[in-house]
C-alpha cells in the first residue's frame, strides 16, 4: 500500500546575510529528512525551537521549496501538482489562530475560501458545505456571520480546522495547533481533531514541542534535532523506552506538577544549538550527557531499535561485545 506521505531526502538551507563586514552564513534548517507515514496515522514531530520542525511543515505544504529531496503524497510528487490539486490533498492548521484568519473576512467566507478557490463548485453547494463544516466543528450559523475578532481563541481554531477540512483533504499538517490556546481549550481542540480524524479517515502530521500532547494524539513520533530526525518510533515504544540520549533528555524535561521540584535539570547544559553552526560528526555530542570521544569524530547512522530507529553511536556499540 502506498503511504499517505513519503518524504525522501528533504533538505532546506537558508542564506543569512552577514551585513557589510560579516560573512554570509548558511543556516541548515532541515537536513536529509526521510520518512513515510501510512494513511490514518498520526506522526508527531517533536523537538526544541529552531530544530526545523516548522520548516519541514512548510516544505510539505508547498509553501517553501526544498533545496533537495521530494515529497510524495499518495505516491504522487507534490512538486508536480498544481496548487488547487494539492489543496484537495493536504491542508494546514496553524499555531496562532489570531494570525491565521484574515481579520477582514467573515467566518463563513473564510471557511468557504478553499471551495471557492477550486473554481468549479456551484455557489449554492459552496455555502452548504461551508455551513455543514462549521456545524461539524461546533460553531453556530450566527457565529458564521461574525468576524474573527469577535471570536475566542478556541473558536478561531475551530474555524481554522473547518477551513482545513472543508475540501475533505487526505492529510492535515497541524503546526502546533494548540500551543497558542488556553489549557482548558487545548483538550477540546485535541478531541475535535481526534474525532474528525476517525470520521474522515485523515492522516495527521502533528508538530509540537508539547510532549504530553504528542503522547496523547500520535501513533508514531519523530524527534528532530538541528534539522535531522534523530529518533523515530511508535509512540508507545518512544515514550516507554526512549533510545536516543536527546529523546531521553526531552522526556526528562517535562515539568511535573509536583511543587518544589522546579525545572528539572536534564544535563543538556545551558547553550542552545545554533543551526548556522552545526557540530561535526554527531550533531548532538556537545550537549550529550553520555557523549564519548568517538562521538566527535564519527557520524552516526540510523540503528534499528525496538519500535523504530535512532541515530546514536552508543546504540551501535551496545549490539557488539
Amino acid at each position: 500500500m502506498t503511504p499517505a506521505i513519503e518524504v525522501r531526502g528533504l533538505c532546506r538551507s537558508f542564506r543569512q546575510r552577514g551585513g557589510l563586514l560579516g560573512q554570509d552564513r548558511t543556516v541548515v534548517a532541515v537536513d536529509d529528512v526521510s520518512f513515510t507515514l501510512a494513511g490514518g496515522g498520526v506522526l508527531g514531530v517533536v523537538g526544541e525551537s529552531g530544530c526545523g520542525k516548522s520548516t519541514l511543515a512548510r516544505i510539505i505544504l508547498g509553501l517553501l521549496p526544498p533545496t533537495a529531496g521530494e515529497v510524495l503524497v499518495e505516491g504522487r510528487r507534490l512538486a508536480a501538482m498544481d496548487r488547487r490539486a494539492r489543496a484537495r490533498l493536504i491542508q494546514p492548521v496553524f499555531q496562532d489562530p489570531f494570525a491565521s484568519l484574515n481579520p477582514r473576512r467573515r467566518i463563513r467566507d473564510i471557511v468557504a475560501m478553499p471551495l471557492v478557490a477550486q473554481g468549479d463548485i456551484p455557489a449554492r453547494q459552496v455555502a452548504d458545505r461551508a455551513a455543514e463544516m462549521l456545524a461539524r466543528v461546533g460553531l453556530s450559523a450566527e457565529q458564521a456571520e461574525r468576524y474573527p475578532a469577535q471570536l475566542s481563541g478556541g473558536q478561531r481554531q475551530r474555524v481554522a480546522i473547518a477551513r482545513a477540512l472543508v475540501l475533505r483533504p487526505r492529510i492535515v499538517i497541524c503546526d502546533e495547533p494548540t500551543s497558542a490556546l488556553d489549557v482548558s481549550v487545548q483538550a477540546q481542540i485535541l478531541n475535535l481533531l481526534a474525532e474528525l480524524r476517525r470520521e474522515l479517515n485523515l492522516t495527521y502530521l502533528f508538530i509540537s514541542h508539547n510532549l504530553a500532547v504528542v503522547e496523547h494524539v500520535a501513533t508514531e513520533v519523530a524527534v528532530m534535532y538541528l534539522g535531522r530526525i534523530v529518533e523515530r518510533a511508535t509512540a508507545d515504544a518512544l515514550f516507554r523506552a526512549p533510545q536516543h540520549p536527546y529523546t531521553k533528555a526531552l522526556l526528562a524535561s517535562v515539568l511535573t506538577p509536583e511543587p518544589g521540584l522546579g525545572v528539572p535539570d536534564v544535563g543538556l547544559g545551558e547553550t542552545l544549538p545554533d543551526p548556522a553552526n552545526i557540530p561535526p560528526a554527531c550533531r548532538f555530542h556537545p550537549r550529550c550527557p553520555v557523549a564519548e570521544p568517538r562521538c566527535a569524530t564519527t557520524t552516526p547512522h540510523a540503528i534499528m531499535t525496538a519500535g523504530g530507529a535512532a541515530e546514536c553511536l552508543l546504540l551501535e556499540g551496545a549490539g557488539k561485545p
Partner: protein
C-alpha cells in the same frame, strides 16, 4: 479629543465636496459673468458692501463667492482624480513589489527612486510648455507623478502581511495569486492607504494652486483658487480680500483634509486588525 480633529476635518471636507458637487445650483451668480461697472466690490464685513455679492467681486466684476464655490469644484476634482490615478499606480507597484520580493521588488524600488528624482514642478512646466495648459493635463501630470508614497506604504505593509499565516492558509487552499492579493492583502492594507490618500489629496490641491498661480495649471477663466490668488495679486494693496479669501479657503480645506487623515490614522490604527 482625537475624535474632534476627525469630526472637524470630516465637516470641512464634506462642505468642500458638497460645494464641488452642487456648485452650479447653489451659487448666486454665474462665476464667468463680468460686470465692469461693479469691479472690486467689497465683501460683507466691510462698509459699502452689496448684499448681492457677499464676498464682493473681482477685478472684472465677477461674483467672488460664486467663483470660490466653483473653485472647490476644480480643487476637489483634481484632488480626487489625482489620488485615484496615483493610488492605482502606486498601490499596484507597491503590492507587487512587497508580495513577490526579489527581482520584482528591485524593479519597483528602482521605479520609486526614479520617480523621486523627477521634480514635479519642472515636469509640469515642460509639459505645459509643450502642450499648453489644461485641466486634464494638470490631473495627468499630478496623477502620474504623485504615486511614490502609495508605492512605499503599500510595499512595506504588504511585506509585513505576506508572511502571516492567513496568507499561507489562502496559498495552501489553492487561492490564485490575484485572489490572494485582492482579498487577503488589499483589504488589510486599505486603512494605511486611506491615510496616504488624504495626504496626497491635500498635496495635489496645493500643487494645483501653486501651478495655477505660476500660470502652469488650470487656464483662465476657470475659477481655480490658485488662479484667483494670481489674478488678485496686482490689487492686493488696495483690495487685500481678493487674495485673502481664496488663500484662507485653500488653507482651511487642506487643513481639513489633513485633520481627516490624522483622525483616520488614529481610528484605524487603534482598532486595526488585532
Amino acid at each position: 479629543m482625537r475624535q474632534a480633529g476627525l469630526v472637524l476635518g470630516g465637516v470641512i471636507v464634506g462642505i468642500a465636496l458638497l460645494c464641488a458637487i452642487l456648485a452650479p445650483w447653489i451659487v448666486p451668480h454665474d462665476p464667468f459673468l463680468q460686470n465692469l461697472d461693479n469691479r472690486l466690490a467689497v465683501p460683507f464685513w466691510m462698509e459699502g458692501s452689496n448684499p448681492a455679492h457677499l464676498l464682493g467681486t473681482d477685478q472684472l466684476g465677477r461674483d467672488y463667492l460664486s467663483r470660490l464655490v466653483h473653485g472647490a469644484r476644480i480643487s476637489m476634482l483634481i484632488g480626487v482624480l489625482t489620488v485615484v490615478a496615483s493610488g492605482l499606480i502606486g498601490t499596484t507597484l507597491g503590492v507587487l513589489g512587497g508580495f513577490f520580493g526579489g527581482r520584482v521588488d528591485d524593479a519597483v524600488l528602482f521605479a520609486i527612486t526614479c520617480r523621486l528624482a523627477i521634480p514635479v514642478v519642472l515636469v509640469a512646466l515642460a509639459v505645459v510648455g509643450l502642450l499648453g495648459s489644461s485641466l486634464t493635463l494638470v490631473i495627468l501630470v499630478l496623477g502620474l507623478l504623485l504615486w511614490d508614497r502609495f508605492a512605499v506604504v503599500a510595499r512595506s505593509t504588504t511585506m509585513q502581511l505576506r508572511n502571516l499565516d492567513y496568507v499561507a492558509a489562502a496559498w495552501s487552499a489553492g487561492v490564485s495569486t490575484p485572489g490572494i492579493l485582492l482579498k487577503e492583502i488589499l483589504p488589510n492594507i486599505a486603512s494605511h492607504l486611506a491615510v496616504v490618500a488624504t495626504l496626497e489629496m491635500a498635496l495635489a490641491i496645493l500643487l494645483e494652486a501653486a501651478l495655477s498661480f505660476l500660470g502652469l495649471g488650470v487656464p483662465p477663466p476657470l475659477p481655480s483658487w490658485g488662479l484667483m490668488i494670481a489674478e488678485g495679486k496686482d490689487y492686493m494693496f488696495f483690495s487685500p480680500w481678493v487674495i485673502f479669501i481664496p488663500g484662507v479657503t485653500l488653507f482651511i480645506v487642506v487643513l481639513g483634509i489633513n485633520l481627516l487623515g490624522d483622525g483616520l490614522r488614529d481610528l484605524l490604527g487603534a482598532g486595526d486588525t488585532r
